[in-house]
Symmetry: C2
Subunit: 204 residues, 2 copies
DNA sequence: GAAACAATCATCAAAAAAGATGATTTTATC
DNA sequence: GATAAAATCATCTTTTTTGATGATTGTTTC
């Protein structure tokens, strides 16, 4: 029984690399590739591979989004995240969206085959580096609310509390409250570090 | 006359992809690969390829650095930058360090072959997207002084003017002057956007 | 050696942000 | 339907930043 493999990645060289690595494997049935989320979804309407190798950075939408949708529409299709970077937040998002594991693009053929085989057994698989990243104490993502995020974005755009209050149709004291809870949640003491941290975390 | 090609990239899948793309080309002599700068330099002591495909993100040092060194030590060896991103600053750095062109990793086989052939003719070659990025008006780097940069960094760390003045052994009004000239040079009107822009430009 | 710039300081005023406390009304969540 | 959390507003004070103007002392650069 061969495992049907499909790959979504916007880098032709990576697709070609994986195809080349897997082409003579008897256990692998190469089903094709897509270079964006849309054509991946189009393909899935016709065929269901066993495992999709999915780049987390796609041109038309994020890999995490696509992962979520694929898993909802086709629960039998497993997803292996694929990326250049091992950022724990991205990995966590992928896992939260139903991925079965995470591979870095410097993976060897052996690693690739092992990942596929583990995943097919229902297990999770992580590249060594990805596993390390997951173990690292995570830069805590302050849990901010929808409104706080709006305010944060406007602060980053350089608006003052007065301007923000106008834009969001709320009073200035309210803006101030949000602003202060942002400072608190980010554990910073002024706007400068707030913006810095927000950017670092990827919220801006 | 075959063209000797060598590749430096820390992603095994990309190496394999390029190898697979080029392996049946009669004009190409695949000389091997390295996954980091050190082993690339070690290889060059023994053999000189005609063209090196060089990833700009290497684990041990930056591709731009390596490019510079290779071009100085072996002027006959041409370098083609290779990357996932088309950031014009990186492209410009590579070119300034003697690269002959810049390819994105979503390049097709045809593009790859054309790039190699153009470069061997002594021309420069850029991926379409890279060329577009180069044409874009570059975000102007405000020219800030040594002192201003110090102040900027301390602001980003969250220090107030009073704290900065203490740390740099200057008076508060002076810190203020620097701060204001920073706002002016960055063409922003408050700290929030100052930090944002500084990070975006890569100054922080 | 003149001109341009960097770095320093001063003073005064206005605007904005940050800190402290408390309270009401929606909206989720169990 | 109770509880918790989010979003809203209020008042008041202190600290910090931003703005406006001007001036002195070095250091480069032409």
């Amino acid at each position: 029984m061969k495992a049907g493999i499909f790959i979504v990645d916007d880098h032709y060289m990576v697709i070609e690399g994986i195809r080349s690595l897997l082409q003579n494997e008897k256990t692998i049935d190469w089903m094709g590739h897509a270079t964006n989320a849309a054509s991946c979804l189009a393909f899935l309407k016709q065929h269901q591979p066993d495992v999709i190798l999915m780049d987390v950075n796609l041109p038309d939408r994020s890999g995490t989004d696509l992962c979520k949708e694929v898993r909802q529409l086709y629960p039998s299709v497993l997803v292996l995240g694929l990326s250049t970077f091992n950022q724990q937040t991205i990995i966590q998002n992928m896992m939260a969206n139903g991925a079965s594991g995470y591979l870095l693009k410097n993976a060897t053929k052996e690693e690739l085959l092992e990942a596929i085989s583990e995943v097919l057994k229902g297990k999770n698989y992580f590249s060594f580096e990805a596993a390390v990243a997951l173990r690292e104490p995570q830069e805590k993502h302050p849990l901010i609310t929808r409104r706080e995020k709006e305010v944060l974005q406007l602060i980053a755009e350089g608006l003052t509390n007065a301007e923000i209050s106008e834009k969001l149709f709320i009073s200035m004291p309210t803006v101030n409250t949000h602003r202060k809870s942002l400072l608190e949640k980010f554990e910073v003491k002024n706007t400068a570090t707030l913006i810095g941290k927000a950017i670092k975390i990827g919220l801006l």
